[in-house]
């Protein structure tokens, strides 16, 4: 009979299974390395994890049994999954290979197995909860599974950000973000890369957004025939899924020789704009389509022209969704390394100088110079050790994340302003 009908039996199976898993875990930990290589640290670590796991298991069961909270099993499942995540993330392996020629298992497998055990245990628990309830109560368990689907990405995101902050914060100081590297004094600064990425994003947005929104207005408000919309839609999707390096290649072959012959900020902006464009078109079209026709009719019936209707009614009510789409796009292009690598960046260049205190105040020629960019700087440090150590790489990553988040914050502000104004 599967699943077993008796509640106690199921619990017993669960306990037995955990016990067996723990045994396997301990075994794998012991077998993990060659006898000579077993370090006290690894054993202590595994022992600690095991004791912790068993202790927390007992504790959770105790809580569930005494308390009987709805979805108690599920709490247990979530707990186990969280534990699995922590184990997986906090105990890295010393070696890279999973097994060597002698058939020995490296500690990584031990960690991995703990991770897998905990994952399976958590899923088993979720299923138990599902089985143990009559059909009308299963709703709850389904809800919990969907919560789980939220928790996991949130956990991953949280981990990414905290880890980057922990690793990167030590190198971040005013000099790091406000100056260029000073080789003579051995100080690292990424201001040129910040300014470069900023210029690339702003430029790409300036090129892409009017075009994208314009295309969307044409498609939703003026294009009469369905096939044009479909054609443009499919084209935009294809463009969006084109690998970024291909954009880079096209820029390298067609743009670079026609601008200056070497890498330029302008070429980078244009190529990134081309990448941003399809998403802008798609999301803006979606946004404009979702504006109810009643608004359009109401406006036209008052004697307003189509363009006035679009300007005063349709666009303002779709700004929030359009902004969301652009944000997604910016999030993508801000971190793009491949396309700009060929056409816009060079490590160690100074920040683009658009403005100066003396005439002519605005310098267009900054557009025609190479720039540095955060993702590229990250790549250069990480891969080639150019311009800093791995610590600086984490610092650069942190700055990049913060920069993107700042764009997000700006977008969210705009969005909520218009949403409040819109009131539906």
């Amino acid at each position: 009979m599967f699943p077993p009908n008796d509640k106690l039996l199921r619990r017993g199976m669960m306990g037995l299974w955990l016990l067996v898993s723990a045994g396997f875990l301990a075994l794998s930990g012991l077998l993990a390395t060659n006898p000579g290589a077993i370090s006290a640290g690894i054993i202590r670590m595994l022992g600690g994890v095991l004791v912790g796991l068993i202790g927390l298991t007992v504790l959770t069961y105790f809580l569930i049994e005494s308390y009987q909270p709805p979805g108690g099993h599920f709490l247990f499942a979530v707990f186990l999954l969280a534990l699995a995540g922590v184990v997986f993330l906090l105990f890295p392996d010393q070696g890279v290979v999973l097994s060597n020629l002698d058939g020995n298992i490296t500690p990584k497998l031990a960690n991995l197995s703990l991770f897998l055990i905990a994952t399976f245990a958590s899923l088993w628990n979720g299923l138990l909860y599902y089985w143990e309830n009559p059909a009308h109560n299963r709703e709850l368990s389904v809800q919990y599974f969907t919560w789980l689907s939220v928790l996991i990405p949130l956990g991953v995101l949280f981990f990414f950000i905290t880890y980057t902050v922990i690793e990167g914060q030590s190198v971040i100081d005013w000099y790091f973000i406000s100056s260029a590297s000073d080789i003579l004094r051995g100080k690292v600064g990424i201001f040129p890369a910040i300014a470069g990425t900023f210029s690339l994003i702003v430029g790409a947005t300036v090129f892409a957004v009017p075009l994208g929104v314009g295309a969307a207005v044409f498609l939703t408000e003026y294009a009469k025939r369905g096939w044009i919309k479909q054609f443009v839609g499919v084209t935009a999707d294809c463009l969006w899924s084109t690998p970024s390096i291909v954009f880079g290649l096209f820029g390298y072959v067609f743009l670079v020789p026609r601008i200056t012959g070497h890498s330029t900020l302008l070429a980078g902006q244009i190529v990134l704009a081309a990448m941003l464009l399809p998403l802008t078109i798609a999301t803006s079209t979606e946004a404009l389509t979702s504006v109810p026709d009643e608004f359009r009719h109401g406006s036209l019936a008052l004697g307003a022209s189509r363009w006035w209707t679009i300007r005063k009614v349709v666009l303002p009510s779709s700004v929030p969704s359009i902004v969301t789409g652009i944000l997604l796009g910016i999030g993508r292009i801000a971190g793009e390394t491949a396309p700009i690598m060929l056409i816009a960046v060079a490590s160690g260049t100074s920040a683009p100088k658009f403005f100066s205190a003396s005439a002519p105040f605005f310098h267009v020629d900054a557009l025609f110079r190479e720039v540095d960019a955060l993702p590229y700087r990250l790549y250069a440090i990480y891969k080639a050790g150019v311009g800093g150590s791995i610590k600086e790489a984490w610092g650069t990553a942190l700055v990049l994340i913060v920069l993107v988040l700042m764009f997000y914050a700006l977008g969210i502000t705009v969005r909520s302003y218009y949403r409040r104004k819109r009131g539906w």
Binding site: H297, G298, S299, A301, L302, G303, A304, W308, K312, G423
Partner: protein, 297 residues
């Protein structure tokens, strides 16, 4: 050969064909109107006159072309793909389907209120000022820059339609739509926060702000609760003092209560038109009698 009696009846608008002999009283004159949606004919050879400053009700079963007829008068049918119109509609003696018709001006003169209240997601004030502001925008294009800037150095925004201050226009329109008391002090809050009935009255106020002569109403109470609907009905009676109202309704009691003239449409054809009282009490055609007593439809 027309008898004196028939002529008298025709002048009194009592010949049940919808046509009038004299045009001084006519706000809209529809002649031999056919409307097609692609291949499908929605209106078949309809001729009728709509009297100035009276409430005319269009009744008939679903899909009989009432709304189509209504939308033909402010050319909102233009927005529907494949719609085409034959015959003529004259508003104030001007053919609105003539080539040089300015649709914007027509729609400013012929306002429309929709079935579902559709205020813009803006403040009450901006909703009502929308029409005049749009008018100003078009004025700038049509009548030169000087007019558009004429109000620039005086204080406050002015309605380009009658030159009054926009604040006055907004308040007057709300007053006329019997909404001012309820929204006093909330003019700059979102119109989306109003109740359905208030939203509908706001839409009426919005239509009034462009100083229309004719107001088309497409089942304006069908999405409202009985009390809100009652308020709208009262309002329509009020409005008929100053405006020509054409209302499409499914509700025959409503038509009987508020309208002066009633027209019955059936499968795109005009069956009968006459004084509301006459039509309901003493229908001429059998089909009218059947419809108003609920035996067909």
């Amino acid at each position: 050969m027309v008898s004196v009696e028939a002529k008298r009846k025709a002048e009194a608008g009592d010949d049940r064909t919808g046509r009038l002999a004299s045009s001084a009283e006519t706000a809209v004159e529809i002649r031999d109107l056919d409307v097609y949606y692609g291949e499908e004919q929605a209106i078949d050879d309809v001729s009728l006159d709509i009297l100035r400053k009276k409430v005319t009700a269009l009744i008939g079963p679903s899909g009989c072309g009432k709304s189509t007829l209504l939308r033909s008068i402010n050319r909102m049918n233009d927005l529907i793909d494949g719609a085409s119109v034959e015959g003529s509609i004259e508003v104030d003696g001007t053919d609105i389907y003539a080539k040089d018709t300015q649709v914007s001006k027509l729609r400013q003169k012929v306002g429309q209120v929709f079935q579902k209240p559709n205020p813009f997601p803006k403040s009450l004030y901006d909703n009502i000022a929308f029409g005049p502001r749009a008018y100003k925008h078009h004025l700038r294009k049509e009548e030169g820059v000087l007019n558009a800037f004429s109000g620039m150095f005086s204080s406050g925004e002015k309605s380009p339609i009658d030159g009054r201050g926009m604040d006055d226009v907004v308040r007057d329109s709300l007053e006329q739509a019997a909404l001012l008391e309820e929204v006093e002090g909330k003019l700059h809050e979102s119109a989306m926060d109003l109740s359905g009935g208030q939203q509908q009255r706001l839409c009426i106020a919005r239509a009034l702000a462009t100083k229309p002569e004719i107001i088309l109403m497409d089942e304006p109470t069908s999405s409202l609760d009985p009390i809100s609907a009652g308020k709208i009905e009262d309002l329509i009676e009020e409005l008929s003092r100053d405006y020509t109202v054409l209302i499409v309704t499914h509700n025959m009691q409503q038509a009987a209560r508020i309208s002066d003239k009633t027209a019955l449409l059936w499968l795109g054809e005009l069956i009968e038109m006459g004084d509301t009282k006459e039509l309901f009490e003493n229908p001429e055609k059998e089909i009218t009698e059947k419809y108003i007593t609920g035996r067909v439809g």
